[in-house]
Amino acid sequence: MGMTVAEKILARAAGLPAVAAGDVVEPRVDLAMSHENAALVINQFLEVFEGTGLAPTIWDPSRIAIIFDHRVPAESPKTATNQKKIREFVAANGITKFHDIRGDTGGICHQILPEYGYVRPGYVVVGTDSHTTTHGALGAFSFGIGATEMASVWSLGYAVNIEVPETIKVVVSGTMPPYVGAKDLILHIIGTLTAQGANYKVLEFHGETIRRMSTSGRIAICNMSVEAGATSGIVPGDEETVRYLREVAGVTDDIPLTTPDADARYVRTVEVDVSKLEPQIACPHMVDNVKPISAVAGTKVQQIVIGSCTNGRLDDLEIAAGILRGKKVAAGTRMLVFPASGRIFAQALAKGYVQDFMAAGAVVMNSGCGPCLGVHEGALGDHETALSTTNRNFKGRMGNPKSEVFLCSPAVAAASAITGVITDPRNN
């Protein structure tokens, strides 16, 4: 019986000739990522060793990545103290893949990992963040875990009792219409599958549209796979993966690719034709409450957000800046832009996008998660509405349970900033 990408990766990592969905394996972990919640991982890690007589020892510090992004710069003394504690732990334990709050090497964890070549095709990646599904964009099997599970990985170097998930094959065909992109595609897929449609399963993406798509677009798609409940989203590695790792991440060593067998077994196949896809909007308060833009156009919005691990990359900023260039953000609407990393921020400056945003009246913020998770930098007022390129719109997500969040592509966000209402960028 042939294997899917996830099965092949897990078989290799578990040292087995083959595995099938439902098997329980203990895969060796290639990369273990945390952000500020490393503060909790550290507590749990130290507790694991209590009473063992063993010194707390990380199995391989070179395989741990810690990136500050969720609350940067710190919004409170509590966060600042957690960050200080993590810095001390990082230094004491020789963790080298550490990205502090910096304008050059800082950024959002799910941008830093691909950008620095920390993730390769075929890797098993775990992260204490549900959007760790992102790294399937580079052909890895990458999934979110809790802090205690991460403490176990830090101690042992493998993940315990992992069930090999079933895989749903998603085949995408057609050419995207103008101003329709990867974000619209994944919102459409989530709307079709529902928020639990891929629970405990992997989404493996195929088809001409995916093959032609840039790594940036693939990142957006894999990032939001978790919003359909998926354990991981995977684009099998290909020429584009190699190009990205060589040209953007500067990888020079071998990049072996993992592709599925022709007779791999899928639990379901979903086919999507994008050639007539409209811009898609996820409406409050669920990510699977997806409608074509025509159904909600004209809805008034007080805050526009462009950024996050989903849509804060250079091509996202490019399309938004192109729409805003020479225009103004509507009175009564505020616009916040968060480049996904320091490197992207610098590139956006060099290309003039930051100037375009500022001239239009947008506020360009430092790289980080920003208001996506409702901690700081852009909370909503009572009964306000946000239109955001981020990935979640649960009630209270942007810091206020009396507000609403709509999710969209960067093109829709930029077009709507000019009018102050949800606007189809194709009508510009």
Binding site: T52, L54, A151, N199, T231, L373
Partner: protein
Amino acid sequence: MAKVIIALGNDISTDDIYPGRYMATVLPTETPQFAFADRTDFNTRLKAREFPAGSIIVGGENFGCGSSREQACSTLKGYDVVVVAKSISRIFLQNSINLGLKVVLCPALEASEGDALDITDDTVINRTTGKTFAQVQMPAARKGIMDAGGLIPYTRARLKARG
């Protein structure tokens, strides 16, 4: 027998259970105060310790969807409640088992706030309505961690065995 203290719908997210703005709070001794913080009345009743240990939170499909934040489990564990849901999202279920929060999967469950439930090894009996519902058993992979009392003792035993 224990009472249902709240009956919730489908897709209850971790932002609902433990809002993101409290994520800088990580200690299990401190997270319980923010359980369902945006459901003000319920949060107040929890904090007042109105509900005895073993009280039941009923969820629909996909309970605990969203973030991997473990606080969503430690905040409930602080009240010794039991979550009985039709289905539970992957990360929340795994975190619950890792931390020892009791969760029960009961796909056909019908229960309202105030109902009295008996949780047996393989069923949930609603004593108020007289109906019995089958549980879905946890996979063996998870039972090992539950039997060890959570992932920390489980991992500790692995370390000791390795020496």
